[in-house]
Point group: C2
């Protein structure tokens, strides 16, 4: 039995599972590395938030990640405003993304549906802070496979962190189905073994824990040219190893790589979705 993580928006449901198609979580609503966007948010201009929400869902995102991490900003307030804006623009479940507990708390208090909290780690203090909040809101949570000692170099140590998070969550009444492990993706530009380590971690966690997994797929190409092409090659590998969702770019080459891999891995029987998408594009091209 593979794990099933059920997330909800206002009137939408997404189930993350190894049985079905991969879950694409759009990464774009995040001011990190986006100077103009950060400046807009600082000035209370949320127009890009709506635009990015709509564009990513139209491009094929199943869910959206929302992050309000800007230095010297009232992050809880901004995150609430951004979540309200996104939920008015599109109806998909949201991944509430912050390292600040007060921001997660504020975000969960206004979110309509069943959110995915991004994230906890295997650090004792973080587990004790965040898991009660996740449990109180009946949410699901992403657990990063690192602890007080940093990011483990070996898949086996990342598995240990993952196991600790799953156990701690269960101790707080959060079902294993509602814990999604992030096996951690680092850039191959800094470490030639980075991706193979991530792939082995994914296989190991799949085989030993059987939980859903999610990672920030774009990390693998950080600092390299043609990032979308690298990301599009990485995603099918990670999916074949057992990854079930990713926070990722909604660029067409990335979305298509995921949907192609769904078909190849038997999660789009007889290519029904693939062929329907192809026909829809043909029809759009003919009338456009």
């Amino acid at each position: 039995m593979s794990a099933h993580t059920v997330l909800q928006g206002r009137n939408s449901t997404v189930t993350i599972s190894a049985d079905g198609p991969f879950t694409i979580i759009g990464e774009r609503i995040n001011p990190t590395g986006r100077k103009v966007f950060a400046e807009q948010l600082r000035n209370g201009d949320l127009s890009t938030v709506s635009e990015d929400a709509i564009a990513q869902v139209q491009a094929g995102a199943d869910m959206l990640d929302v992050n309000a991490g800007i230095p010297l900003v009232d992050e809880p307030q901004l995150l609430m405003d951004m979540l309200r804006t996104v939920q008015e623009a599109v109806d998909v479940p949201i991944c509430i993304d912050s390292s600040v507990i007060e921001a997660l708390e504020a975000g969960l208090s206004v979110y309509e549906g069943r959110a995915l909290v991004n994230s906890v780690t295997a650090e004792d203090e973080r587990l004790e802070e965040i898991l009660p909040l996740v449990a109180a809101h009946g949410a699901a949570v992403i657990g990063l496979a690192n602890d007080e000692t940093g990011i483990p170099e070996t898949p086996e140590k990342r598995l240990e962190c993952a196991r600790k998070i799953v156990d701690a969550a269960q101790g707080h009444g959060i079902a294993k189905d509602d814990v999604i492990i992030d096996p951690l993706a680092m850039t191959v530009g800094a470490d030639t073994e980075a991706v193979t380590t991530t792939l082995r971690t994914i296989s190991l966690i799949r085989d030993e824990l059987g939980v859903n997994m999610c990672l920030g797929a774009s990390n693998v190409s950080f600092g390299l040219p043609q990032r979308h092409v690298l990301n599009a090659a990485f995603l099918p590998m990670a999916m074949a190893a057992g990854l079930t969702s990713a926070i990722m770019s909604a660029a067409p080459i990335c979305i298509e790589a995921v949907r192609a891999a769904d078909l190849l891995l038997g999660h789009d029987a007889w290519g029904a979705s693939w062929i329907a998408a192809h026909r829809a594009r043909q029809a759009a091209a003919a009338t456009g």
Copy 2:
């Protein structure tokens, strides 16, 4: 120690190995399913052979497959003519592709360099016919992982076929390094398990036999729309599982997926080739 298969053209050498970048074998010089090309060949017009050879090598192919299989044609003679034409047009090692022993024999007799013979199977009769020929010419050989009973459904049975081929080759004085196993790729359009079976076969053969592997990558998308996108998603998966070469399309999206996967899997240290290719494209765009 991973296997090293050394192939040669007139003045070129390619080494297929799990240590280095993936070997791309251009699939295009094959009349199967190409009516106009087949008709040209039938009429002795080899101009497309030269053009396809040059175009595929320019696009990034490391080697070329050459097949002359047209019904009611003198295949040995045509294959000799095609091989001479290709070797005059480009200097890369060639995969001599025929199911007809006389054609392989004729091809090997004119080929300048160290060829890859495509292919033998685990059928006793084929092994006894083809392996002595491969040994006599000091060539390398592709062994398809099927036998008299057809294409095995399970990875374990394909491994058995592979082992039988490797053993038989060694009995004929052909080193394990010079046997490349084809784990067999079928279309996912006919069997939703086809690709996962192939991927498991690749991992199993890597772990148990440690030989090089090559497959006809485009088979996976047969009968489906947007074949290049599917093939480009398949190749990184197969590479991560242990595939070391493929007979494949030299379409840009497929070549880029392979080179991206090389980088991600640590076979292009610090992205040196990836970055050089990117800069060359930028320079070409600036001067074009």
